[in-house]
């Protein structure tokens, strides 16, 4: 089952959900609108290597906005820290943003119960697109879970700002990469 807007508000008040900062005006009938944070990361090497840490460069989106280019992958982040020890979060773009041809996540909408932090956005536009800091860019919805809960304790816990892929850390654990 997917939470209604009023239930999202109730759950924030009683602690089953954490959204910070929380603005009641950003609650939808079945989701919460999250805003684009000011920081973008891009990978600087021509080829991203799943088995190695990949160097990145940081861009701050000024008030005049920043033009995202097709063919580039931008890692952005939500302004809000969002998480729950009770419900399963899913993050998608808003339809208003989809209609501008901007992917906000790449085949990974499902979050983990117990993750708390700013969500990394995987931004990839179909056409060149100017975006602005603080614009409402995505929607997080919450699903009731079934079964005992084993809380998230993974590598992105308590994230602040965009997080590059940490796949290499898992590889390092198996000895594949120094």
């Amino acid at each position: 089952m997917i939470l209604t807007g009023p239930e999202i508000t109730t759950a924030v008040r009683d602690g089953r959900l954490r959204i910070a900062p929380f603005e009641s005006g950003q609650v939808n009938p079945n989701s919460y609108n999250v805003r684009l944070g000011p920081t973008l990361l891009t990978y600087t090497e021509p080829v991203i290597d799943a088995h190695r840490p990949n160097p990145t460069t940081t861009t701050d989106i000024g008030p005049e906005g920043y033009v995202l280019q097709p063919g580039e992958l931008y890692l952005g982040h939500t302004l809000e820290e969002v998480g729950s020890d009770t419900f399963v979060p899913l993050l998608f773009g808003r339809s208003s943003v989809g209609r501008l041809g901007l992917f906000v996540e790449i085949t990974a909408p499902i979050g983990d119960i117990g993750f708390h932090g700013q969500w990394t956005l995987m931004l990839n536009p179909v056409r060149p697109l100017r975006v602005y800091p603080g614009m409402k860019i995505g929607q997080i919805m919450f699903f009731v879970s079934v079964g005992p809960v084993d809380l998230y304790a993974g590598k992105y816990q308590a994230a602040l700002g965009p997080q590059p892929s940490g796949y290499w850390r898992d590889q390092a654990g198996t000895g594949a990469v120094a």
Partner: protein, 178 residues
């Protein structure tokens, strides 16, 4: 929880879900198999979240129309769907996906209270010919948890759209709408 095909049929009969036109043969085990409408808007320029999107509108001929990669197309579902009781999620089907077609750009959620022909955000991985009225994706219905809230009472932007809507995000951005 996701409604099964028979549960969707029962909800249509009870007036809790509207699908127009409704063809029982388009019910699948846990979805309704919706069709592509007859019109596309082609967005091939640079876009700005703070400005209306320029577009050219074309009909899809009976002989089909070839979608090109790197162009954003806004389409529309042939069906109008709505429910005050259930949330909806619209996606492509595996047949469409295997043609390399995205039917939305990371924005699948329809809030409870939607009563719309859905605007589609179409992108092609390779040139691909599409036809008007072709089966294009699946619409699933989700039970909600908590006190209901209807999109119709939220004063939101796309409450009763009957065609293709460009993004109206510019209405939210200070200085937008130029």
């Amino acid at each position: 929880m996701i409604l099964t095909g028979p549960a969707i049929a029962a909800a249509v009969a009870a007036g809790e879900i509207a699908i127009d036109p409704f063809e029982p043969a388009r019910l699948s085990p846990n979805a309704y198999d919706w069709r592509l409408g007859e019109t596309l808007r082609i967005c091939a320029s640079d876009l700005d979240a703070a400005a209306p999107t320029p577009f050219a509108e074309v009909g899809i001929p009976a002989g089909g129309l070839v979608l090109q990669p790197d162009v954003l197309y806004l389409g529309v579902t042939l069906e109008r769907t709505g429910s005050e009781r259930y949330a909806q999620m619209l996606n492509g089907d595996r047949t469409t996906g295997a043609l390399g077609i995205w039917v939305h750009v990371s924005a699948p959620l329809g809030h409870a209270g939607h009563a719309i022909r859905w605007t589609l955000e179409i992108r092609a991985a390779r040139p691909v010919r599409v036809y008007p009225g072709m089966t294009f994706g699946k619409l699933v219905f989700l039970q909600t948890f908590g006190a209901p809230a209807s999109y119709q009472q939220h004063g939101l932007k796309y409450t009763a759209t009957d065609g293709i809507d460009i993004s109206r995000l510019y209405e939210e951005i200070p200085g937008g709408g130029a």
